[in-house]
Amino acid sequence: MTEPIIRIENVHFAYNAQSENPIVALTDINLEVMPGEYLVIVGHNGSGKSTLAKHLNALLLPTQGDVWVNGMNTKNGAHTLTIRSTVGMVFQIPDNQIVATVVEEDVAFGPANLGVPEDELRERIDWALDVVDMQNFRHRAPHLLSAGQKQRVAIAGAMALKPQVLILDESTSMLDPAGREEVLSAVRRLNQAGTTIIAITHYMHEAVEGDRIVVMEAARTVTQGSPREVFSQVEELRALQLDVPQVTELSYALHQRDETFPPNLLTVEEIVAEIIRRKELEVAT
């Protein structure tokens, strides 16, 4: 049997744990991620998503419980470097990730630190800049780019690490629709080639990309399942006040007017086909 690439066991975490006012950010988290899985994490602001993500590459250590990456406990400092080369992360605020004054050096920083040889380094930078469509900006200063351009550079930097696990913390949030589609399809390709993906997002049409969605609420994981399972709980999602894709919202609105209309369609193709099928049936009878 395959081992999970990430195992989170009874994790509890508080910021300022020693102080009078600790801020509890994770409570009782148990989660396993299998190699090659595409996991999506959704949840409200402050629910603990970024805190959880930072536990996966040893940026934060649990106050209680354990996180294992490829069988290595993140608490064991001897493993930290290996863990960071296994789990690459694109941070929520791309500015915090900029380390160099030239885009291509910024992208090279991570892999160079891991000792990737010069030839391969060149290849990786080229490849990563291509993926995010930033070749023309390779000699520019990263802090003098537009917000979406910075975000692309941050994504390229993490991809150039070629990590086994790629974490994207709201990493497409400032991209235009075409750019978002490009990055998502690049992520999909990486995933098909075996990279484990963990994506945090507020956009439900991105969440449907995943094999599994985990919903966090107030420091806990409250529900999980395939996108169809999760989004078919429209009432529950309403109660949590999470979004559903517009398609699903429309399909639910039509279901409320006519019970025979399916309530949980996920894609434009599905709903268009359903409407046309109904019109054709009507014509036939």
Binding site: Y15, I23, G43, H44, N45, G46, S50, Q92, I93, D95, R140, A141, L144, L145, S146, A147, G148, Q149, R152, D169, E170, S173, M174, L175, D176, P177, A178, G179, R180, H202, M204, H205, Q241, L242, D243, P245, Q246, V247, E249, L250, A253, L254, R257, D258, V268, I271, V272, I275, I276, R278, K279
Partner: protein, 292 residues
Amino acid sequence: MKDTHQAQPFIQVNDLHHVYLRGTPLEVTALKGVTLEIYEGESIGIIGRTGAGKSTIVQHFNGLLRARQPGKVILEGQDMSDPSVKVKAIRQKVGLVFQHPEQQLFERLVGDDIAFGPKRLGLSREERRERVRWAMEMVGLDFERFKDRFTFSLSGGEMRKAAIAGVLALQPKVLILDESTTGVDPRGRKDLLARILELHRHHGMTLIFVSPNMEEVASMVDRVYVIDDGRTAMSGTTREIFDRPDDLRQYGLGVPQVTTIAHQLREHSLPITRTPLTVAEAAEDVWKILNS
């Protein structure tokens, strides 16, 4: 809606150019001819692909960047290239929420940060407190829970909300949101946008809305400008703009999912006449078709 009785637009931009790092080897021409006008009380969307120049444009609206030849920015009748224009007075009227919230927050405590603007407006202690409370309520940050938190220790979305609250606390006549709801969760976004629309509709606040989220743009604004490569590429009512999906795609943009559904149904010869912009509109239109 555009009030055609107003003789003069509140903001008028004519052939605006902008060059960053002018005269250095790193010179970047960000704007190459932007023309637009915004009337008082309107809600305007500015959309365009990454790097198109949106943030550069809106920074001209509160004097952070100044126009120079050949372009012109006229704000309430004042030529912004005139160095004698009082930027301070303009910033009290035109509130700009930056795209990067961390560039907006500079006090240690959340409450102090949001109180900063009202303090400069000369409000009393009591009035300031009320303003802060009101602004935090608007963005959905609990006053008691967050007022004494360190700004740097907020989650990404909480930081966004604090930045927006800081600008709302000025109660500006014109509110510019530069992708400011990015990272705010769906519940918070829905509530926040509804409250902002309320300020726009019932209190006459002019709204300038930059967003990569076409669904949000469609539900928020009356008119849209599309910017591409530093120029005005398209302009029209929101429905007119989203009725041209092929042109939008050419500029790296898209349309709301419900609009795509309507376009595809039309291709199958189903009679969807208007282009729906929201789920409610689409439900109505599809229901009509299913029952005709």
